[in-house]
């Protein structure tokens, strides 16, 4: 094929002197060795949190939803807040893997594996809340439309909660498939390097007999594209449907048409923040600074400042509409009981964290500062948690009839449930970091020879002084050394 020219001005995506083998070594060897002390500490804490969550949920299921502090006025609180928050976090993974794949954004290769894993774990966490917020969770299967002996009694297709069931389950399935199909060549690499029988067996099973043949690669690429195509609408649709839970209701503060784009932007916003949080730790702990570079961080920070501003516009639009619509109930909700009132503090936390602080990312220096990025990623996620809390609770606690106005503070099982999902998330993530290649080895190799630091230096710098004519003459009509990317990668997979 042709030369894949990339300007030296463009930052390399892989730093250091790497060849295919070195890439494999860097990424696969942590799987083969014993994890460090930090890993054990982290894993232990995660499992402890998970068990605490299991206890909290068991308590709630046994004694009833009444052990939570929800009430006659506020039927959803931390439960659905956490649900929307976790689902939102998942969106970054899908965006990175699907939309950026379609847009051929090379920088995604360094972060997509971990981001997709984060998506899957986040959706798993999210799913717990709608399930266990039910008063009779043992009847949860009622939400599934299947022929039954009760009439047959069908589900209510008018209900946004039902749409949620479909949206979330589809999302989870597609994300899982996408993630797993990407893992196949990497699992095969682990298998081929395996020195113990058990590892060989397990990774052999996991890699589905991947041999790296051209046919495999061709099918793999095709499948990736198809799944990317399927996932792309999901990035938009899942959170749109989640927003319908609120937008289709009659409660002031919920009943607003701006929700779908606002929710999607917010989801991507929080998702990228979470990716940042995780990757900053991962690259440090697993010494993957060469693969997850400052360039990656900066790219994601740009997305954060963009989506943060979109969300900020949405907040202002809501305020404007609450005034312009001249509906007294909506006006009161926004101006008296959301921006002020007993829960007003939550609104201002949201505003500060989501709209004001992310503006630091207009500055390149800030975008490329690890500490700032890490702190901001936490702040954004706090802000986005509060956004959902604000939407849910400040709309419900003072709605139409003042006689029913109420207040809400979480109880220990509610907090425990939330902590438990952190336990679940990080338990999964620690296992992932230990047993799975946290960076897509094959995909890195795909871009290595065009965007790797040493290759750029060796190959591109020579080209830079050439005149246009000379360049065209030398490289336009015959094959270059780099060959077909697919070949290169196919070959690389066995290094």
């Amino acid at each position: 094929m042709h030369l894949k020219y990339e300007s030296t001005l463009r930052e390399p995506l892989v730093d250091g002197e790497k060849n295919y083998h070195q890439v494999t070594e860097d990424i696969i060897s942590p799987i083969e060795g014993k994890p460090g002390k930090l890993w054990y500490v982290g894993f232990f804490i995660s499992v402890a949190l998970l068990l605490w969550g299991v206890f909290s949920v068991t308590w709630e299921v046994y004694y009833g939803t009444g052990v939570w502090n929800l009430n006659k006025t506020i039927g959803w609180g931390w439960d659905i807040t956490n649900f929307v928050w976790w689902v939102g976090i998942g969106h970054a993974g899908t965006l990175i893997s699907a939309i950026l794949l379609l847009f051929r954004q090379g920088w995604r290769t360094g972060v997509n594996r971990a981001a997709e894993a984060m998506t899957i774990f986040a959706v798993m966490c999210a799913g717990q809340f709608p399930i266990f917020h039910m008063g009779r969770v043992w009847m949860a299967f009622f939400v599934l439309p299947y022929p039954n002996t009760r009439g047959p009694l069908w589900v209510n297709f008018n209900s946004p909660l039902l749409w949620d069931v479909f949206a979330i389950s589809t999302y989870f399935t597609v994300s899982l498939l996408f993630w797993y199909s990407g893992l196949l060549p990497d699992f095969a690499t682990v298998r081929d390097r395996a020195k113990t029988k058990l590892r060989k067996l397990l990774y052999g099973v996991a890699s589905f007999g991947w041999t790296g043949s051209a046919k495999h690669w061709q099918r793999h690429e095709a499948l990736s594209l198809v799944l990317a195509g399927l996932s792309t609408p999901l990035v938009l649709s899942v959170h749109t449907i989640v927003s319908f839970d609120f937008a289709t209701s009659v409660i002031p503060g919920w009943h607003t048409t701006i929700f779908p784009p606002y929710f999607v932007a917010g989801a991507i916003f929080s998702g990228f923040a979470m990716v940042q949080t995780l990757l900053i730790i991962v690259r440090k702990v697993l010494s993957l600074e060469d693969y997850i570079t400052m360039g990656h961080m900066e790219a994601m920070n740009k997305v954060i400042v963009l989506t943060g501003s979109v969300v900020g516009c949405a907040y202002l639009t809501e305020l404007f509409m609450a005034w312009y619509a001249a509906v007294p109930y909506e006006f009161a909700t926004f101006y008296k009981y959301r921006a002020a009132g007993p829960l007003g503090w939550s609104y201002w936390i949201m505003m500060t964290c989501n709209v004001i602080t992310p503006q630091v990312f207009w500055f390149r220096k800030m975008r490329r500062n690890i500490v700032v990025t890490f702190v901001m990623s936490i702040i954004v996620n706090i802000g986005m948690w509060f956004e959902r809390f604000v939407i849910i609770c400040t709309s419900l606690y003072r709605d139409y009839l003042p006689s029913s106005w109420s207040y809400y503070r979480p109880s220990w099982p509610e907090v425990g449930f939330y902590m438990g999902t952190f336990g679940l998330f990080f338990t999964c993530f620690f296992l992932f970091a230990k047993y799975f290649p946290v960076i897509a080895v094959a995909e890195i190799k795909f871009v290595l020879k065009t965007t790797g630091e040493s290759f750029k230096r060796d190959n591109m710098e020579k080209l830079e002084p050439l005149s246009d004519e000379q360049f065209a003459h030398d490289h336009a009509h015959h094959h270059d050394d780099h060959g077909h990317a697919g070949h290169a990668v196919a070959h690389a997979a066995h290094n």
Binding site: G64, L70, T73, W76, L401, S403
Partner: protein, 1035 residues
């Protein structure tokens, strides 16, 4: 053409022998049905595998679905003729507790009473009742009732008890025997008492009312020569002036008065008029909340106000100085109205001071009330206790001057102001017998406990008003080894007649025949054929003397605090405190449950560091105050109430019962009866001297409504009578905005109208071809008493959740009464009550959000719940703009399949107490949503009755529990498709101007409409009304 032959294979072509065999044998191999003894050893062939798979799957499915343990119902061996399982029986009875008089019809199912309602045949109370009457059916199943007679605390048999008491009576040697009871309105019981007296001449009967009215009785004796209470006729009054008399809530017989008063508050739109009600009080009562003009004062000022009023209506007394200008003006205004309506007005007073009541009698005589609104021909027997008699008894007891004391229906060791002296005297008495149903504070100190039946187990009669009788018949066999008080007394008088025979003989003698007696029992009431003419009485009281005595009543100084005690609508004097329904009923005014507390104004609260506002609203823990009066002190949390006089602290009596009172009552609140004092003639239920200090403690109060203002939202519509007459359409001005959406104000119920059709994608989903249920609630005649709330609870098995859960806002009431304060003056707010229940929206926001279609719409317009389908997402409750959906947060009644997670605070799940459950209504399990069903079980019953009779349903046959209980007829319910129905007429003919729907603009199309409230107050007052509601954030 030759038929060509095709073949499938060479075998067929050659038609071999093997082939023929195969063709003849459809099943070529033997089907391996092995059912022999070798089954276990058999190698399982493929078909058996499927068979076994099918069998095990089916068996596992069946086994798994049979998780519910089998509980055997034992059928009747000999079925009683009158009992058909599933069909209720109704018996007439009477609620005659502590002098209240409410003729009833008791609904029994399979031999157990489950619901009471007013007896329609009674002209005094009709189908109405109060919360306490509704709750009385639960008291029958009170697990804390005494289950057998005891001697010195040990179980005894009745014969042993009779023997020992007989011996003790004989051994008294002529020492006086005293029977201490609350007011008895039964003529036959009085005869039994007289029979006892005949046997023991040293016997005397003392009547003691925990909350005393002896001031009135004595004043009437002084004024009219009759120690009696007249029959009041509020229905004849154009002007009502009440001095502290809570006649809609707790005063004498509130059902009767609210029914009468309600009649004067109904608005006929063609000729709008209504009574005008002035109210003077210290604490805010239900009655005060409904007044058109309300003024507050300190309790010690009552006499001055009465005198000033008498002076203003032309009485020959000099008016005392009243420094509060608003109050003084109010008195003048009330007097003016009274004089302008001579003969059409009434003044009542709640004071227990003889002299105040004499002045009130003088006023009534001055304004021509006697004979027009006050009837002296028929007097009422509601209260008979004279305080000095009780005072004397306590002295006698302590002096050892009483040989035997019989106690029936009273609990002075708890509710007497000097309970300690009484108890000490009791202990000194030789023979002490209690007939009380509980081992209460008094009964635990007696030697003999001879528990009487609950009234639903008893025979009896009652004469509420002269000539107006009502009967009591047993609706269930006695649950315990109890015996009617009368039966015991008959036995001890040596009369061998059974009590029921005694009663029957009495009445057959009066009525003439067994048939007449049977009919009387069946009807339940006997009333004069024509209502007797009202009679007057000439006032002969000594006004000057009374005025002088009022002048010497002790008053607090300027800015000093006074204490007033009051009764709550639900708990009353505390006798029925062990009733979880009543404990959990939100107080109509404070909206608090399960406690008593120190009610104070916002102004006073500020001095203790509390004030109305967000902090106060969202935090349930209230500052505890130490309150000292009469040398006693009590610690109680403060509760801020707009509308109480700023220098008054009000505390409810009836709380602080001890552990013997039962699970629900024990330890709830504090007993404040010791703040009552005796002024030499009567007991005073206030104290002019009180010291209050703040403590560092806090205490949580379970309040069901924390926000007091309706924020000017058009969920409540109100205007003044004057403005309404001027422009009847004004109150519903905002509905015209709906015009642009095709709303047709002339025909608001035409379901074809564009307003109904527009705004939904599915205009024809709900067609109501047959019945379409609808309800109308008149805000003008809803007094907020809460009878409907408890009626609904009894009818629909609504769970009790307990105080801790009320604090978490988990209460379950299907019907609540929202109470809002309005107006600009936080000390004198305008009050409005709004019953709020499921609005049964035709375009219900709850229905479309349920993922499993558990809440859906009936063909009759009922928004119904399929509890078994509900998975408890609570989305419906979130999306309900009226917030009337109630979620089963906990396992309130053991209806889920988890062991040991029952949450039962009130003791509602005792096997005994569960007998009160209505078998027609499902008990909801934990985790499901519930709400008002429009009493669908009653509607179905009415429809089936009509169907069996082969005729269409008539209007008024299907009635909801709340509608029946309402004394003022504020609730109209029926089929809006029936043009003859009352609901149709109210909406389309009679009340078109006032009718509105709450949150109509949401296009949820509710099935319940409200009628705007009209206040009969001066126009200039209402000027600021437009901005006032919004302005009043504090409230």
């Amino acid at each position: 053409m030759e038929q060509k032959k095709y073949w499938k294979g060479l075998e067929e072509l050659h038609n071999t022998k093997e082939h023929q065999e195969i063709v003849n044998n459809e099943f070529r191999e033997d089907l391996p049905f092995e059912e022999s003894e070798s089954l276990l050893n058999a190698t399982t062939p493929r078909r058996d595998f499927l068979k076994y798979l099918g069998f095990t799957t089916a068996a596992a499915t069946i086994a798994a679905s049979c998780e519910i343990p089998v509980k055997k119902a034992i059928p009747y061996v000999n079925k009683p003729e009158e009992i058909t399982p599933g069909v209720p029986n109704y018996y007439a009875s009477t609620y005659a507790v502590d002098g209240e008089f409410v003729p009833l019809v008791v609904k029994t199912r399979e031999g157990r009473p489950i619901k009471v309602d007013g007896n329609e045949l009674s002209s005094i109370t009709g189908t109405s009742s109060t919360a306490r009457v509704q709750g009385s059916v639960l008291s029958l199943y009170d697990a804390a009732r005494l289950r057998f007679p005891t001697i010195a605390g040990a179980e005894a048999t009745w014969s042993e008890l009779d023997k020992q008491v007989g011996a003790a009576l004989a051994g008294l040697g002529g020492a006086p025997i005293v029977l201490l009871t609350s007011t008895i309105i039964s003529p036959s019981t009085k005869k039994v008492i007289a029979g006892f007296q005949a046997k023991y001449p040293s016997f005397r009967h003392v009547t003691y009312d925990a909350v005393s009215y002896s001031g009135m009785l004595l004043a009437n004796e002084a004024s009219y020569g009759k120690r009696a209470l007249p029959a009041y006729h509020f229905e004849n009054a154009k002007v009502v002036v009440s001095l502290n008399a809570d006649f809609l809530g707790t005063w004498l017989n509130p059902v009767e008065y609210s029914k009468q008063y309600g009649a004067t508050r109904k608005i006929d739109e063609k000729k709008p008029e209504m009574s005008k009600h002035f109210h003077f009080e210290s604490m805010m009562s239900v009655t005060g909340a409904n007044a058109d003009e309300r003024y507050t004062h300190k309790p010690s000022q009552t006499g001055d106000i009465a005198l000033a009023l008498l002076n203003a209506v032309g009485g020959s007394v000099s008016a005392p100085a009243i420094s509060d200008k608003r109050l003084a003006d109010g008195i003048q205004k009330a007097a003016k109205a009274l004089l302008a309506n001579n003969g059409k007005s009434i003044v009542v007073a709640g004071s227990n001071d003889v002299n105040v009541q004499i002045i009130v009698n003088a006023i009534n005589s001055q304004i021509g009330a006697n004979g027009t609104t006050i009837d002296w021909n028929s007097t009422v027997n509601y209260r008979q206790g004279i305080d000095s008699e009780m005072e004397q008894l306590v002295k006698d007891l302590n002096a050892g001057a009483v040989g035997g004391l019989f106690i029936y229906g009273v609990n002075p060791s708890y509710d007497y102001y000097n309970a300690q002296a009484f108890t000490e005297g009791l202990k000194k008495t030789k023979l002490t017998v209690s007939f009380n149903s509980h081992k209460d504070e008094t009964s635990e100190n007696v030697k003999f406990a001879a528990p009487a039946h609950h009234y639903l187990e008893s025979w009896g009669d009652a004469e509420g008003r002269t000539g107006y009788f009502s009967f009591i018949q047993p609706t269930i066999a006695p649950l315990f080894k109890t015996r009617a008080f009368e039966a015991t007394l008959l036995a001890w008088s040596g009369n061998t007649t059974a009590w029921e025979d005694f009663l029957k003989n009495e009445w057959i003698a009066k009525l003439g025949s067994q048939e007449a007696w049977d009919k009387a029992l069946q009807d339940g009431v006997i009333e004069p054929a024509t209502a007797p003419a009202l009679g007057g009485a000439s006032f002969a009281g000594n006004v000057a003397e009374a005025a002088a005595k009022i002048g010497s009543i002790k008053k607090s100084g300027k800015d000093a605090l006074e204490l007033v005690l009051y009764e709550k609508v639900a708990i009353g004097n505390g006798k029925e405190a062990n009733n979880p329904w009543l404990q959990e009923m939100p107080d109509p005014i404070t909206r608090a449950t399960w406690d008593n507390y120190a009610v104070i104004s916002n102004k006073l609260a500020k001095t203790f560091g509390s004030e109305l506002g967000d902090d106060y609203e969202i935090n349930n823990d209230k500052t505890v105050l130490k309150i000292k009066a009469n040398g006693k002190e009590v610690l109680l949390p403060l509760l801020i109430l707009p509308g109480i006089h700023p220098e008054v602290i009000a505390i409810a009596v009836g709380y602080g019962r001890n552990a013997n009172a039962g699970k629900a009552a024990a330890g709830v609140g504090k007993n404040v009866y010791n703040f009552v004092s005796f002024n030499g003639t009567t007991r005073d239920f206030y104290s002019p001297e009180v010291a209050v200090e703040k403590t560092n403690q806090t205490y949580e109060i379970g309040v069901t409504q924390t926000h007091n203002s309706y924020e000017g939202r058009p969920i409540i519509k109100e205007t003044t009578l004057e403005e309404f007459i001027k422009n009847p359409e004004e109150v519903n001005e905002d509905r015209k905005e709906l015009d642009q959406f095709g709303y047709d104000p002339k025909n608001p119920h035409d379901t074809t109208s564009n307003f109904v059709k527009n705004g939904t994608l599915y205009p024809d989903v709900h067609q109501y071809q047959g019945i379409k249920w609808g309800m109308s609630i008149d805000l003008n005649t809803c007094f907020g008493c809460g009878a409907c709330t408890i009626a609904c609870q009894a009818e629909n098995n609504v769970s009790v959740v307990g105080k801790e859960q009320v604090i978490k806002a988990h209460e379950m009431h299907w019907l609540r009464i929202d109470r809002y304060f309005g107006g600009t003056d936080v000390d004198n707010p305008e009050v409005v009550f709004q019953p709020m229940l499921c609005q049964h929206c035709d375009n219900a926001p709850c229905e479309n959000v349920c993922p499993v279609a558990a809440t859906n719409h009936s063909s009759e317009g009922i928004n119904q719940m399929a509890y078994n389908r509900c998975i408890g997402t609570r989305y419906c409750a979130n999306n309900c703009p009226y917030k009337v959906r109630r979620f089963n947060w906990r396992d309130w009644n053991g209806a889920d399949s988890f062991a040991n997670n029952l949450y039962d605070v009130g003791g509602m799940n005792d096997d005994l107490t569960r007998m009160v459950l209505n078998p027609d209504v499902v008990v909801r399990s934990r985790g499901v949503m519930e709400k008002c069903s429009f009493c669908v079980q009653k509607l179905q019953d009415a429809k089936l009755t009509a169907k069996k009779a082969g005729r269409p349903l008539k209007d008024g046959e299907a009635r909801t529990a709340c509608q029946l209980a309402c004394s003022a007829d504020a609730i109209v319910f029926g089929n809006v498709n029936d043009k003859e129905s009352r609901i149709y007429k109210v909406r389309n003919e009679e009340q078109k101007s006032r009718m509105y729907y709450v949150l109509e603009q949401l296009h949820v199309l509710p099935s319940i409409n409200y009628l705007a409230k009209i206040r009969n107050k001066d126009a200039e007052k209402a000027e600021g009304k437009k901005e006032e509601h919004a302005a009043h954030h504090e409230a």
